[in-house]
């Protein structure tokens, strides 16, 4: 089953929708989203009650809907690694500070991971299929797979599917203590090659209007998805792809030069004619970075950018028709998403 991307809504640390792709400057070891004026999308009464992840999630979904000229969708499928951590932290703080007395229920109500997908359903009055995957850095990939299952049964459905995670000060403090990020006093963006100083934290929301059939508005197509736990082997990649020709391998690395180089070598051996590009210096590291990568890859496949130097791609002139998105989340997991131009 193939997924056709009809429209994309992305809120990310970089601007994805121009014809130039610029590398954002990190603030210490954090890349935060360039957030839009939410009042153009959501009513002021609603905005007041919403955490950043809810604003980013719903707005990116509404952007995709508007771009696709849809008034309704049939299903909403969401992937989020950590969910609504701002509201979770806020409720935990109040439990501690107020010693379990007189608590405001709003942060609790909005703390469950499915709040994003259900709020989108509420805003769009979508009473159809609604699902939320919360499996770390595979959350978005497993949502994509679910969309394939749904469209296999009912190919005429229009599905909204997205990946979203928010950066918060407290989650950053905890991840930092696990040694995930580079030292905060090193300024500037992540470099393109052989980054050995650790990852830069990121965040983002990307929602896609997906169809099971190609149409005049199809921007790109997702052909297959595979997730891996533990180290990735050449056999895993080649058996997944079955000798598919790939023009560009778009890699998401986590700031460990030794592992990055190994993977690069592995990809170069499997795809000797493919260029290798990188994306995580554009969005930072977070559990649904692959949703950003799919948005970026879709834009590249639609020939949206004047040049691709900012992803490390130098082979000007060669059309990019097939992209393999490879994503690694620290040492924990990997995924492959094969995409084609429409």
């Amino acid at each position: 089953m193939r997924l056709y991307i009809d429209a994309i809504g992305t809120i990310a640390p970089c601007q994805l929708f121009g014809d130039k792709l610029e590398v954002p400057e990190a603030d210490g070891n954090v890349l935060k989203c360039i957030e839009p004026d939410y009042s153009a999308w959501i009513s002021p009464q609603s905005i007041r009650r919403m955490s950043r992840i809810l604003k980013m999630g719903t707005t990116s979904a509404l952007m995709a809907i508007r771009q696709a000229s849809l008034t309704e969708v049939d299903a909403v499928i969401t992937g989020t690694g950590y969910g609504c951590i701002e509201d979770t932290t806020s409720f935990l703080t109040k439990i501690t500070e107020l010693e379990e007395n007189a608590l405001n229920p709003t942060p609790f109500m909005q703390s469950t991971h499915n709040t994003i997908g259900s709020l989108i359903a509420l805003l769009l009055q979508c009473r159809g299929y609604n699902q939320t995957f919360v499996h770390g850095s595979h959350s978005f990939e497993h949502a994509l797979l679910d969309a394939m299952f749904v469209l296999d049964e009912q190919p005429a459905l229009k599905i909204l599917i997205g990946g979203v995670d928010e950066w918060t000060e407290s989650s950053h403090a905890i991840h930092s203590r696990f040694g995930k990020y580079r030292r905060p006093d090193i300024d500037g963006s992540m470099t393109l090659v052989n980054e050995s100083r650790g990852a830069v934290a990121g965040e983002g929301a990307s929602f896609f209007a997906i169809a099971g059939r190609r149409s005049s508005v199809s921007k790109s197509m997702i052909e297959s998805i595979k997730t891996f736990i533990g180290p990735i082997k050449a056999h895993d990649v080649s058996s997944f792809l079955n000798d598919t020709h790939v023009d560009l391998v778009l890699c998401g690395f986590s700031g460990n030069a030794r592992i990055d180089q190994e993977i690069e070598k592995l990809m170069a051996a499997i795809f000797p004619h493919a260029a290798i590009g990188r994306f995580k210096h554009l969005c930072g590291e977070f559990t649904t970075a692959s949703a950003f990568a799919v948005a970026l890859a879709s834009r590249i496949l639609a020939n949206s950018y004047n040049d691709l130097a900012s992803i490390g791609y130098q082979q000007h002139g060669n059309p990019i028709r097939t992209i393999l998105v490879y994503n690694r989340y620290f040492a924990e997991s990997h995924s492959l998403i094969l995409m084609r131009a429409c």
Partner: protein
């Protein structure tokens, strides 16, 4: 292609395995008692359904070298039983694990948090290493060796029914041959205070579907079904204990935490499940209700049932009157109870029911009763309007 159930495992406040839970359901002995295991101002008073096993006991029983979250421990408890009871001997099957949870590793994170709140460098990191829902699932998956495809779903209280739905699709699409699916959730201070702040906790043992119901009791536990394809069933020479014949997943799209008055989401989920199973409302012999005991849920679920089943309402009951509401685990636990109804040919009682809700007039099954059961419907509805319904049926082939 049929999705067969060959194994089941459950742990809840009414028993630590399938037989114990079944006996409690038969005898009408519930597990709702004052909160005892959590450091909270509600300890000693608030009625909840706690599992009477300590983390230390489970850690040593499972031979774990490190301390993991209670959500993972309860999950391993039920998952191991499901795998053991499944009778699978082949070693080359691709095995998937799909688990629902709402709190993930919160039981330890909330222990970490007060020190962390005072000082960002304080608190033992081992308490938050498995905070993420997916991390809890991975711990269970590794313990039971189901690692070919592992994922986690959180759609609040419908999480584990959605896990069973997704696992069925993984088998149908040939991603895995065998899948363990259901959910796990531990009681936490976080959820107790959350539901308290929403003012939907009953100070007494809950009274689902009763006119005087005053809210829910929280519970904890885990429940999993082991699902296999026809091919695996045949190759392993196993007997199908039941079949997942239909499911429905919809959204109420009404309010973040309240169901629509007419239960449009639950109606649609039940209707979809019936259509997928190709059966009519009259074929359903028993509905294991979502039946939380809140004023809102029971009214809208009851109205939806009346609208869908008309004069044909089958035996209905909420086993949450025994276990409490186990949140992300309830769909898994109740799927195991639904399997019991099929295997043991019976329906379960709905404790503490005295008077029907005026608007629906529905009277749930009061006591355990042996009777023919071919199709069971199990409902799970969650915050965010997530409504799921699943149908388990007897395998009629060769009988």
């Amino acid at each position: 292609m049929a999705i067969h159930i060959t194994g089941a495992g459950v742990v809840s406040s009414i028993g630590h395995n399938y037989e114990q839970c079944f006996n409690s359901l038969v005898n009408g002995s519930h597990g709702i008692k004052p909160l005892s295991r959590i450091d909270s101002r509600f300890a000693g008073s608030l009625p909840v359904g706690e599992v009477a096993v300590s983390n230390e006991m489970m850690t040593s029983q499972f031979g774990l070298q490190k301390v993991v979250t209670r959500t993972a421990l309860l999950g391993i408890h039920a998952a191991a039983e499901a795998v053991q009871s499944a009778g699978i001997t082949g070693t080359n099957w691709r095995k998937g694990f799909v688990s629902g949870t709402t709190v993930g590793g919160m039981d330890r994170s909330e222990f970490f948090f007060p020190s962390f709140l005072k000082d960002r460098e304080a608190g033992d990191l081992r308490d938050v290493v498995h905070h993420g829902c997916g991390s809890v699932t991975n711990v269970i998956a590794e313990h039971i060796g189901f690692t070919d495809f592992v994922t986690t779903i959180n759609t609040a209280c419908s999480s584990s029914v959605n896990a069973i739905i997704y696992a069925s699709k993984l088998i149908k699409h040939g991603i895995v041959d065998i899948a363990l699916a259901g959910g796990t959730d531990a009681l936490t201070r976080f959820t107790i205070n959350g539901f308290k702040s929403l003012m939907i906790l009953d100070e007494e043992p809950c009274r689902p579907f009763d006119a005087r119901r005053a809210g829910l009791n929280l519970g904890e536990g885990a429940g999993y079904l082991l699902l296999v394809s026809d091919k695996v069933l045949e190759a392993e020479g196993l007997v199908s204990r039941g079949i997942i014949t239909g499911f429905g997943n919809t959204n109420d799209a009404y309010h973040q935490t309240a169901s629509s008055p007419d239960g449009r989401g639950s109606f649609a989920a039940m209707q979809e499940a019936l259509q997928a199973a190709s059966i009519s409302p009259g074929d359903v012999n028993y509905i294991n209700l979502h039946g939380t005991g809140t004023v809102n849920n029971d009214l809208s679920e009851g109205r939806a049932i009346n609208r869908l089943f008309n004069d044909n309402v089958p035996a209905i009951s909420s086993t949450k009157s025994f276990t409490g509401h186990t949140l992300g685990a309830c769909g898994g636990i109740e799927a195991v109870f639904s399997l019991m109804a099929l295997e043991r040919q019976c329906v379960f009682g709905n404790l503490r029911f005295t008077e029907p809700i005026h608007e629906t007039g529905l009277s749930p099954q009061r006591e355990f009763s042996a009777r023919p059961v071919n199709h069971v419907m199990s409902n799970s509805f969650g915050f965010g309007g997530n409504c799921s319904s699943i149908i388990l049926s007897r395998n009629m082939k060769g009988q």
